[in-house]
């Protein structure tokens, strides 16, 4: 699958509906990280489902695997919440959920997207900022849309 979540920061109104959609459709786990930059904007740091995922390489339990369809999926059963993947991820897209002691990670809403629907965060977006598009088309039209939060803002502060 070549489709990925793309965010247009110019249209985002920081309403957090994408985070809520992710939270409620994943058994109340935060798969979508959010950060604020000096309170002026909120950056949603979503998993890019990298071609060579560093989180997969860092995981000592082999809980994270890149599937043939391109999705990087984490197994709840194998994960020991060691946070290696969180430290390895260059985009800050994985964070420890302290209350449940595991590391929720974006699964690109595979139960929906493999049926041809939009991911929950893109479908629910109220401002049209977040879309679920073929990454090749987006690159051709708008340049590289997958820049990480660290390349957009100098200081990223987690806001939970």
């Amino acid at each position: 699958m070549n489709k990925r979540n793309v965010l247009d920061y110019g249209r985002c109104i920081s309403c957090k509906s994408c985070i809520a959609a992710c939270f409620y459709s994943h058994n109340q786990q935060d798969h979508l990280e959010a950060s604020s930059v000096l309170t002026n904007t909120v950056l949603q740091m979503n998993c890019r489902h990298c071609e060579q995922p560093l989180c997969e390489a860092a995981c000592p339990q082999e809980a994270i695997k890149r599937r043939d369809d391109g999705l990087v999926i984490r197994s709840n059963m194998k994960c020991s919440a060691c946070t290696s993947c969180a430290q390895a991820c260059p985009f800050g897209a994985i964070d420890l959920e302290k209350t449940r002691h595991n590391l929720p990670k974006c699964d690109l809403c595979s139960w929906r997207t493999l049926e041809g629907k939009d991911s929950m965060c893109a479908g629910t977006c109220v401002s049209g900022a977040r879309t679920f598009e073929d990454i090749g088309d987006v690159k051709a039209q708008r340049g590289n849309p997958m820049r990480g939060a660290r390349t957009v803002a100098k200081t990223v502060r987690r806001k939970r």
Partner: protein, 562 residues
């Protein structure tokens, strides 16, 4: 196999459509509905609460008498007895009924019929949140359709519409991106997210929104509207007279203009004038007008129950002892109107019954509490903004003994020997006595210094927080509430970002975490009205002309620390 049922969200008057995935009668997941006419699949944070609302462990699922669980039939018999006693002793007028704005049109029909046939009272009032009633009375329900948002060449937005009603944002922002000449104009005291997306943000004084609209109408030479001194009005809104004329000319030159209005807690005269002038501005430009309300079915309540009696009048009758028994269907009046509905006054009633989705403060004080079905648990029709009539079927069965209000009322009417026949109600609307010219002149000359409070709106909370405050997402994302304070004001008062600050008014004080931002102008602090402690800092004063509350914070001050 799970099936997806269509449902509507009643957290605001936009009434977004969504799907509810139900597995053997149990709601399991929210699905998006791209076919929904108004929101096309988008759903804000509050919309996602609809699933948790149905599954919440603290739902009110059994009737109570003095907070002890009883069978629903016993509770209804007790209410019927109390109504009969009040009627026998003091007449039908001694019974008051207050209904919320999330009931269905059929529920409102039943309330009106129950009040007239079974009880014989005209004391029926709708508990609108904020200034929904003045906004409705001023400009009506509007004439725009959702399709008017697509490709609008100019959009005038009054109020923080994108945070109060986030699902409106997508089509408005998309229309702006269609052509370089398309414009969004906004009016708000602080630089909200709506203003962030605008081409021109007019920073008005709190309550000064009608002044901008009147100035634009004056610059357009519109007939039948109060004229204002253009230079004075523009100066009061931080603009030059030339800029007002430039915006007016721009609006006149556009073929497709849309005016949206919503209000904050504040002066009811301003809300009335905002509705009236926003509708007139739309018509002067040959465009359309759409107001957005806090109450999900505020438009339906206004049309069917009417405004012959309003909450401030019912409060007065309760305090004066004219109303002996009060029935409340839906709202938590103690939290919705803190200080206006005195807990002591409720204790002074000879009988209080309250139905609610959660056992709220009013239901806790009630002699009889009734579990009320949520909007996705009952069939019904609703009237949304943008002229949409929504008809929904129950997606799941109500929890426990919970039932729709019309079913509770039908059972009560049977007990009272006057069964309901059904039928459509049409509310009475007495004329409003607001002197627009005098009010606008007062706004143009108003000033102030020191610290004043405005209502801070959050996209993750409903305004009174009565339901959204219980939701897991709200609690996990933002376990604390915050005040927004301008950089200059914060520096002057010694308040720092992320640290606690004590906000105080004549009504008391509370300690809240401060967010220091350049979005707030000097001297203005936004307090979160969805937090009961903060909401109760505002004073709700009845206004005889508008027959609604003026909400203000007198003696406002902020200091660092707790």
């Amino acid at each position: 196999m799970p099936e997806t049922k269509k449902a509507s969200c009643l957290f605001c008057s936009f009434q977004c459509g969504f799907g509810l995935e139900v597995d053997r009668g149990v709601p399991v997941r929210i699905d998006l509905d791209p076919e929904a006419r108004q929101n096309r699949g988008a759903l804000c944070v509050r919309g996602h609460y609809n699933l948790e609302l149905l599954q919440h462990p603290k739902r009110f699922v059994a009737a109570t008498v003095n907070r002890r669980r009883v069978p629903l039939g016993s509770a209804l018999t007790k209410i019927a007895g109390a109504i009969a006693d009040a009627k026998a002793g003091h007449g039908g007028g001694s019974v008051g009924i207050v209904v919320g704005t999330e009931l269905s049109n059929e529920d409102y029909d039943a309330v009106v019929e129950f009040a007239s046939k079974a009880v014989g009272t005209k004391n029926v009032a709708v508990a609108y949140d904020g200034s929904d009633l003045p906004l409705l009375a001023g400009g009506g329900a509007g004439d725009a359709s959702p399709e008017d948002m697509d490709g609008a060449e100019a959009v005038v937005i009054v109020g923080d519409v994108f945070w109060g009603h986030p699902c409106v944002a997508k089509r408005i922002i998309a229309s702006r991106h269609l052509a370089l000449t398309n414009r969004i104009y906004t009016g708000n005291p602080s630089r909200t997210t709506t203003d962030w997306s605008a081409d021109r943000h007019v920073a008005v004084r709190p309550g000064g929104e009608p002044l901008v609209l009147a100035a634009l109408l004056t610059a357009m030479n519109a007939q039948g509207v109060p004229r204002v001194d253009l230079a004075k009005a523009a100066a009061a809104c931080g603009m030059g007279a030339g800029e007002v004329e430039a915006i007016a000319n721009d609006l006149k030159g556009k073929k497709k203009v849309l005016v949206l209005a919503s209000t904050r807690l504040g002066d009811s005269t301003s809300a009335y004038l905002t509705g009236m002038l926003a509708a007139k501005l739309a018509h002067a430009c040959g465009g359309k007008y759409a107001p957005l309300f806090r109450g999900g079915n505020a438009i339906g309540a206004h049309a069917r129950v009417g405004s012959a009696r309003t909450v401030p009048e019912v409060v007065k009758d309760v305090e004066g002892g004219k109303i002996k028994a009060l029935l409340v269907f839906g709202p938590d009046v103690l939290q919705l109107y803190p200080g206006a509905f005195h807990a002591d006054a409720l204790d002074g009633l000879s009988f209080l019954a309250a139905s609610a989705v959660f056992e709220n403060d009013t239901a806790k004080r009630a002699d009889v509490g009734l579990p009320q079905a949520a909007w996705t648990e009952a069939d019904g029709s609703y009237s949304a903004s943008f002229g949409i009539a929504t008809t929904v079927q129950a997606a799941v069965a109500p929890q426990g003994d919970a039932a729709p209000v019309r079913r509770l009322l039908a059972a009560l009417a049977e007990e009272l020997g006057a069964p309901l026949a059904g039928g459509e109600a049409r509310g009475e609307h007495p004329a409003w006595n607001v002197d627009a010219a005098a009010a606008l002149a007062r706004l143009a000359s108003a000033g102030g210094d020191g610290v004043s409070f405005i209502e801070g709106i959050s996209p993750i909370h409903r305004w009174d927080g009565a339901i959204t405050g219980r939701m897991a997402f709200a609690q996990s994302l933002k376990p604390y509430c915050e005040i927004w304070i301008g950089e200059k004001t914060a520096a002057r008062l010694g308040v720092h970002e992320g640290e606690s600050a004590t906000v105080a008014t004549d009504r008391g004080e509370t300690t809240i975490i401060a967010t220091v931002t350049d979005r707030m102008p000097d001297g203005l602090v936004a307090i979160p009205s969805y937090v009961p402690d903060a909401r109760s800092l505002m004073v709700w004063t009845p206004n005889a002309a508008t027959r609604w509350f003026d909400v203000a914070a007198s003696g406002a001050s902020v200091r660092a620390g707790s």
